[in-house]
């Protein structure tokens, strides 16, 4: 068996003692062992995972009810705090860090019987679009080892594409779930802002950070959302959810109003990607969707807005890494000031430094209004254009990325070139709306992602649409 069964079937199998959690974990560990050359993982929790699996099998034998994810192995991006092993955020700053508590998302998954088998590579502190900014090593694309898997959740995307686990966790601040999902050929889902608690996840840009699953199917993604979503008093930005399940999807395309985002089809779009996305749109039409083109004229500004807001929030969130309480510290420092500056100089990579300093610049007095406040006001303009579009359309669609996975090293010498990779994903983040990338086909043997975006809190509907789309292939 190369790929995994549906997650709900697996959990049901473990609950009925038809499958053993121990076997699922062993299978995951074997697959991990066979896929070392891709460098997708930072740490593996072999003993801990097997222990948990044994405990679950014992509880099943005693007739206990385990939960919706009984015995299902998963991998978390290494910016989720876990009690077992280290949590590094792929940074030298947190290289020695052992978390004193665990992310709410992990607690919720474990409470339903899921088992974290490993932690995945990422761009350090999730700053990047390729995992090349990892302070440790670069993850390779499962479809072509000379190419990047996308980022920043590149290790998570590669892990799912390589069938190490049925699902992995990622974070999406400007596209960091959807982009690697598109590049690696898996489903990547960014929920509505606030739907999933971020307590215990290394903060990047708090006004756009969300947590979500990378998986093989939309059904699996929906089940993971069902388990993780809901208010948490440890994250005051969480929003309430209704009682209806997220994973009871009624796929429907006929009659749905779908807007093709005009701005995402300009000359920057690779012909091979355009071909796959055009075909996807044709399929939606033949299945009865009411499809037409829609223009959101301010979308080309979204990336500039993002690269002011994001560094501003990064500079503030990363101020906590001071070399005094946890993480990297500078032994040689003699004064307090020096101990801050040296620890941060040594612990942060180039991209973190860039963002911290850009953030300091756009927030400093004299520049605040021109940069930060202006960006937040253009953000309002983009949000209003989305709101206007969603009065006419149920969903907006387009490519997830203008290109397929690029070569390792192709964009590392020019940070701005790397930023442009996020051009089609950031708008959903600055607006807080849900969006999903679904594998839509291949271009030159590389996966192409199709993106569907819905209004805030349309997650259930969006997942149902995505499932229907998935069924069209």
């Amino acid at each position: 068996m190369d790929s995994w069964p549906a997650i709900d079937d697996m959990a049901a199998g473990v609950q009925k003692a038809e499958l053993r959690a121990v076997d699922l974990v062993k299978r995951s560990l074997e697959k991990i062992d066979k896929s070392k050359e891709y460098d997708a993982l930072i740490s593996i929790n072999k003993e801990g995972a097997l222990e948990r699996a044994e405990a679950i099998d014992k509880r099943v034998a005693k007739g206990e009810k385990i939960g919706k994810l009984a015995g299902v192995p998963f991998i978390a991006k290494d910016n989720f705090l876990t009690l077992s092993g280290k949590t590094t955020a792929a940074s030298n700053m947190l290289k020695p860090f052992e978390a004193p508590y665990q992310a709410t998302a992990i607690n919720k998954l474990e409470a339903e019987g899921a088992i974290c088998v490993a932690k995945a590579n990422l761009d350090a502190f999730a700053h990047g679009s390729s995992t090349e900014n990892s302070d440790f090593f670069v993850t390779k694309n499962p479809h072509d080892k000379t190419r990047v898997p996308g980022g920043s959740s590149g290790g998570s995307a590669a892990a799912v594409a390589l069938s190490m686990v049925p699902f992995a966790l990622g974070t999406d601040t400007g596209g960091s779930i959807r982009l690697p999902a598109a590049f690696s050929g898996v489903v990547g889902y960014k929920p509505t802002y606030g739907l999933v608690s971020r307590s215990g996840v290394v903060a990047m840009a708090s006004s756009t950070d969300v947590i979500g699953p990378l998986s093989r199917t939309v059904d699996d993604a929906a089940l993971i959302l069902e388990v993780m979503s809901g208010p948490d008093e440890l994250d005051s930005t969480t929003i309430s959810r209704d009682k209806k399940p997220y994973n009871d999807l009624l796929p429907q395309i006929r009659g749905q109003k779908v807007g093709i985002i005009k701005e995402y089809f300009d000359e920057g779009l690779e012909p091979g990607v355009r071909q796959v996305v055009d075909d996807a749109i044709k399929k939606l039409k033949s299945a009865g969707a009411d499809v037409s083109e829609v223009s959101l004229p301010s979308l080309p500004l979204a990336l500039a807005v993002y690269y002011i807001i994001c560094p501003a929030e990064v500079s503030s969130n990363l101020a906590r890494y001071d070399g005094q309480r946890y993480g990297h510290f500078a032994k040689e420092a003699r004064t307090l000031q020096d101990s801050y500056k040296l620890a941060r100089e040594q612990g942060f990579g180039l991209e973190a430094k860039r963002r911290i300093m850009i953030g300091a610049h756009v927030l400093s007095s004299g520049y605040y209004d021109a940069y930060y406040k202006k960006a937040q006001t253009v953000r309002t303009k983009i949000i209003k254009e989305f709101e206007a579009a969603f009065l006419k359309y149920d969903f907006l669609v387009g490519p997830t990325s203008p290109t397929t996975a690029f070569k390792i090293g192709e964009k590392t010498s020019d940070p701005l070139k790397m930023y442009l990779v996020d051009i089609m994903t950031v708008a959903a983040n600055i607006s807080g709306v849900p969006a999903i990338s679904i594998p839509a086909g291949m271009s030159d043997n590389l996966p192409v992602g199709f993106q569907i975006i819905g209004p805030q809190n349309s997650d259930r509907k969006l997942l149902a649409m995505a499932k229907a789309f998935e069924g069209l292939k």
């Binding site: 020695p96 052992e98 004193p100 508590y101 665990q102 802002y193 006004s207 005051s236 930005t237 929003i239 301010s298 500004l301 500039a304 690269y307 101020a319 001071d322 070399g323 005094q324 309480r325 946890y326 993480g327 032994k331 420092a333 004064t335 307090l336 020096d338 801050y340 500056k341 040296l342 941060r344 100089e345 942060f348 180039l350 430094k353 860039r354 300093m357 850009i358 300091a360 610049h361 400093s364 021109a370 940069y371 406040k373 202006k374 960006a375 937040q376 006001t377 253009v378 953000r379 309002t380 303009k381 949000i383 209003k384 940070p415 701005l416 930023y419 600055i430 607006s431 807080g432 805030q456």
Partner: protein, 96 residues
């Protein structure tokens, strides 16, 4: 925009509590200037009548009862990663 001066980069590094190497200073003069040039496209955007958005879902002043709760992390766990502790407190280098 013209290239950021050496002093401007050093000031940002100081605000950010970073001790840059000579090579990094030159590198960041180029790179940070290029990024600031890129975001300059927002200058000309007409935003008359619009307010900035800081929070996208409209939540405001989320309150909870101010009482201690049993927390997963214990003091001993919170101190274990520190370079120096004394009497259950973080110990820092001399200030002057």
């Amino acid at each position: 925009m013209s290239k950021l001066s050496r002093d401007a980069v050093l000031k940002l590094a100081d605000l950010s509590r970073l001790k840059l190497t000579a090579e990094e200073i030159e590198r960041f003069r180029e790179e940070l200037s290029a990024i600031l040039d890129f975001v300059e496209m927002l200058d000309k955007v007409d935003v008359k009548g619009l307010e900035p958005t800081y929070q996208v879902t409209g939540l405001k002043n989320v309150m909870r009862e101010d009482k201690p709760r049993d927390y997963q992390a214990k003091p001993v766990d919170l101190l274990k990663g520190a370079p120096a502790i004394e009497k259950n407190q973080f110990k820092v280098k001399r200030v002057l």
